[in-house]
């Protein structure tokens, strides 16, 4: 989706230019009542800066953990969170939906 107030890609580009290591997380699929549609992005740096979102805030922490690993290895990851997923219970997907997030390093 293009109509986002915050241009996450532009911010990610600026961070890279500043010498930061950056990962991009993108919502690719949702089922049920998830707050952010496919295409929603979160950019995150190894130093902990965040821009954008992939949920209402419930999975950003878990996505950030995965992003650190992706930034270390360079290999992308596909993450799933949902009510049937133990990890989702842990991180608390309060909306009751299911969401798949692709995490990649901006190499």
């Amino acid at each position: 989706m293009t109509e986002e107030a915050e241009d996450v890609l532009a911010i990610a580009g600026r961070w890279v230019a500043e010498g930061e290591t950056v990962a991009l997380a993108t919502v690719v699929e949702t089922w049920g009542s998830s707050p952010r549609p496919p295409g929603s992005r979160l950019a995150i740096t190894a130093s902990g800066r965040l821009a954008g979102s992939v949920s209402g805030g419930c999975i950003e922490g878990a996505v950030a953990d995965a992003a650190r690993e992706v930034m270390a290895t360079g290999a992308p990851k596909l993450l799933s969170f949902g009510v049937t997923n133990e990890r989702a219970w842990e991180v608390g997907l309060a909306c009751g939906g299911t969401v798949t997030v692709f995490v990649e390093k901006l190499a």
């Binding site: 107030a5 990610a12 890279v16 190499a107």
Partner: protein, 241 residues
């Protein structure tokens, strides 16, 4: 995403052209698909065709082909809000609309109103509305709102807007003003069902009083129309009335 692909994506976006980022979810193979051309990793023809459809629909989705799942992520140019009349309400619209993803252009040949001081950072067009509208070419990702209250300015803009695919056309004015306006536009040859595209009085009925509140009501209506909200759906008979 590889740096070269990222920079290519940003360059196409900066040029305000549509482009789609295709990602094979199994391994992160990626390509940019535009019209014409594909840049990056090899992409099956079926995925390229699906990508063009996703761009037209402006919806990001996963598509499966030959046992592989691809994420198709359209990056269309910004939505556009074309405002006719650099009046006080336009200042509110121009300030709020970018937050909703709209690139704003304000048309007003009256330079007294259309000043950079009143509209910092906003694209101002001082041509007459018919000329400006012809040049801007509203498409189905565009909204047009007339605010001047002056038929010499509003009418040509509405006349032009009705000949485009603009997804939203709104006109400020009371019910009586609007009825008179519709009669003038009908005299220009517009059919009742065409005139029914004009939202007037403009904006959702939230009892807006201040310029900012009216701007909010207009933007709320634009979002509601774009998203197909039930509260702005109109029965054909009602719409044509």
């Amino acid at each position: 995403m590889r740096r070269a692909l990222f920079e290519a994506l940003q360059a196409v976006r900066a040029a305000k052209r549509p482009v789609l980022l295709a990602t094979r979810l199994a391994d992160g193979a990626q390509a940019l698909i535009a019209d014409p051309g594909v840049e990056g990793d090899a992409v099956p023809e079926a995925i390229i065709a699906a990508a063009h459809q996703a761009l037209r629909d402006d919806v990001a989705r996963v598509v499966e082909h030959a046992g592989e799942r691809w994420f198709l992520h359209p990056h269309n140019p910004p939505l556009r809000l074309i405002i006719v009349g650099a009046v006080h309400i336009a200042q509110g619209l121009a300030a709020m609309a970018p937050q909703l993803g709209f690139a704003v252009t304000v048309i007003d040949p009256r330079r007294f109103f259309a000043t950079a001081e009143r509209f910092p950072g906003v694209t101002l067009d001082d041509r007459w509305p018919d000329e400006a509208m012809a040049a801007l070419g509203p498409d189905r990702r565009s909204a047009v709102v007339t605010l001047t209250h002056d038929p010499k300015l509003d009418d040509p803009a509405l006349d032009a807007a009705l000949r485009t695919e603009a997804f939203y056309i709104g006109a400020l004015g009371s019910r009586r003003t609007h009825a008179a306006r519709l009669a003038r536009l009908a005299a220009l040859g517009h059919a009742p069902e065409t005139l029914a595209r004009i939202r007037g009085p403009v904006g959702l009925a939230i009892e807006a009083v201040t310029a900012a509140e009216i701007a909010l009501a207009i933007l709320a209506e634009i979002v509601a129309v774009r998203r197909g909200a039930a509260l702005v759906a109109r029965a054909p008979a009602e719409a044509a009335a």
